[in-house]
């Protein structure tokens, strides 16, 4: 076995996450309308590294407070907005902080990432207006079964559908969704390659290109279209008492599509014939895990690739030589959590081995540590739904 595997720089990656939580430079202005997702990747990264407990209680408190400050009850239901980017300060003629205008509405992807972040911080969810969230999801569903990011905007794709499913699963309340209609939308996104595209007719891909993606900036996405489809089907299947949705042939075909995305470099690529990128190690790896095909991943080559994606000042980049961002850092750590390599002590030092294997198990469907998912199951649903 190769002995060149470097240590996973756990402290460096944790520092990268902490740095971003402290503040973002002007070059990250395009995170303004998706800041909560970035916050989730940072908090989630610290959690996967087992370092969230080392954060002083006062900071964790502040993070929770900020996330809750994004919770809003508006005309279209309740949920979390990406940041206060549209929230106005009280002006002299307002008595209280200006409450939601229609343009300061909750966002479905941000609501999903906020619930996960709060669960990581072991919030008790006593402030959660559950009925409001269900209402928000109901109003977000479109006639074709898909979901809008913000009700009334016809901007929709598979990502938003997954978030609606994940939130309903967390609440253990599916009354906001017409599941049959939604599943028809999912199957219309299936392609001849056996993967899934963002919307009907689109090319299959492992990752949704970001909400905004600029080469030199952070690329943020809740994505992996094929992952998103597979995870959504798994959530729906659980909601329907374990009913199988894909035929065995479709399942085999999707497994084949996913498996063939592992490149000789060890990393996964998101589309046929593209370069490997760290985030697809999660998107493809997690989809395989959900389909019961995790054993086909070549773990050692995958972590070797991720080892090369480490940025010298902390954090993990999409590819070797690129600069790091919280999105690729979190997703790489999540991939390692699912696929810790079996390292032979004869070829790597105990320190290196430990750096790659000290992870606790990850739930691939909700994309959180199993312990966090357990917390969600016990605290997010209405007491009568637990």
């Amino acid at each position: 076995m190769n002995t060149t595997l470097p240590a996973l720089s756990r402290i460096g990656h944790a520092n990268h996450c902490k740095r971003c939580l402290t503040g973002l430079p002007v070059s990250q202005t395009d995170m303004d309308a998706q800041r909560l997702a970035l916050v989730f990747y940072c908090i989630g990264g610290l959690d996967l590294l087992g370092m969230i407990q080392d954060i002083p209680e006062v900071d964790r408190r502040a993070w929770k407070d900020w996330i809750w400050a994004q919770f809003t009850n508006g005309p279209s239901g309740s949920g979390f907005r990406p940041s206060p980017f549209m929230t106005g300060q009280a002006t002299t003629d307002d008595l209280v902080v200006d409450q939601t205008t229609a343009y300061d509405a909750p966002h479905i992807i941000m609501t999903y990432t906020a619930l996960l972040s709060l669960a990581i911080l072991r919030d008790d969810f006593s402030q959660l207006n559950r009925q409001g969230v269900v209402e928000f999801i109901r109003r977000s569903q479109n006639d074709d079964g898909s979901f809008s990011t913000v009700p009334g905007r016809n901007e929709s794709d598979l990502r938003t559908l997954y978030c609606a499913f994940a939130i309903s699963s967390m609440l253990n309340d599916w009354s906001g969704i017409d599941i049959a209609k939604a599943l028809r939308f999912v199957s219309s996104c299936r392609t001849y390659e056996g993967g899934y595209g963002q919307s009907p007719f689109c090319e299959a891909q492992g990752e949704v290109v970001a909400l905004s993606q600029m080469s030199s900036r952070i690329n943020l996405a809740i994505g992996g279209t094929t992952y998103i489809a597979v995870a959504s089907l798994s959530l729906a299947s659980s909601a329907m008492g374990g009913k199988e949705i894909l035929t065995p042939e479709e399942k085999e075909e999707t497994i084949h599509w996913l498996v063939s995305k592992q490149a000789v470099t060890g990393g996964f690529c998101g589309r046929t014939g593209k370069e490997a990128d760290a985030c697809y190690c999660f998107w493809c790896g997690a989809a395989l895990k959900i389909l019961g095909a995790g054993k086909f991943v070549d773990r050692y080559s995958m972590v070797e690739f991720l080892g090369r994606c480490q940025f010298k000042y902390g954090g993990i980049a999409k590819a070797p030589g690129e600069s790091a961002d919280p999105y690729h850092t979190y997703l790489s750590l999540a991939a390692i959590s699912m696929y810790p390599p079996a390292l032979d002590e004869g070829s790597v030092s105990p320190k290196v081995k430990q750096s790659w294997t000290s992870f606790s198990p990850l739930d691939p469907v909700l994309n959180a540590r199993e312990e966090t998912v357990d917390w969600i199951r016990r605290h997010v649903p209405q007491p009568s739904h637990r």
Binding site: G23, T29, M31, V39, D98, T191, Y192, T272, V297
Partner: protein
Amino acid sequence: MSETKPLYSKRPEWSDVVPVEQYEIVNPVAPIFYSEQYKDATNYFRAITKMGEKSPRVLELTESIIRQNPAHYTAWQYRYETLCATNASLADELKLMDEIAIKHLKTYQVWHHRRLLLTTLRKPKPELEFIKKVLHEDTKNYHTWSYRQWLLAHFGADGASINKDGEEEYDLADLWEGELDFVDSMLNQDVRNNSAWHHRFFVVWGCGIREGEQDRERVFKRELIYVKQNISLAPNNPSAWNYLRGILKSTKTPLSSVSTFVLPYTRPRDPTASRDIVDLENPPPSEGADLPSVQAVEFLADILEEKGSESDINQAVELWKSLATELDTIRRKYWEHRIRDAHLKLKASK
């Protein structure tokens, strides 16, 4: 642009608006250190949305914000609403968007806004030219390809060219006419461009049957020859092999129908093979191709598995073994699974 212009707070024509600062709690998480210009513009934007003003100056304001942060989806939304409310020229807007789109190709909102404009403008044909130009900059851009597919699906369906008054607004056949040549030119540039292969599948198989394409037998043959020719030029191109599988599957044609074609790609080059006889149906691997091709070996194993006799399966197992141990070792466990699976099926059938 906005950098050279004075701040909104310094402009007399905005003096009637009281800017609304962003509300942020005492200890914000991941605060962004905004530029003075961005802070200024968004202060006025928050004020405007609160007042509900929709006027020409709002178009100038939202443009400034979009240029600074193209992912500001509320600025996009409000801009579109303002365009509608002020009866602004959407054709002018589209022209402005040509420039902004090229700067921010990877931003979802840019393309979403374009869809909204086109839905009203209903002039799809010039868009195809625009997309072609944009794909020149980034040949695999997911948003751009998706937009082209949306355009064709939305405006290219039967009856889509007829407006509310029953008039034909554009020529439907004309919209589709150049599509195959377009894909062909993209694939000539880069035969491994999976987005282009996917688009071809969409055009030929994905969206109904158009004039001139009714003879499906002929279309199938044409596509078969097309993809085989492309495989012969680049035998290790998974996109082309996937297309071949895709068309066989969608026409319910057995994989074994192409065994004669596949076979030479599964073996090391045969130096004695004559290249003089040109068999259009079964073009041989090009000179200098790297053989055997992993995709071909995989394909042949699938053909054998589909046939399903004991000796077929045994041959397939040999091929999978060669993939697992030598040709495609990164997927060793997957190929071993295929071997186990086939053995189980064989046992069950006995």
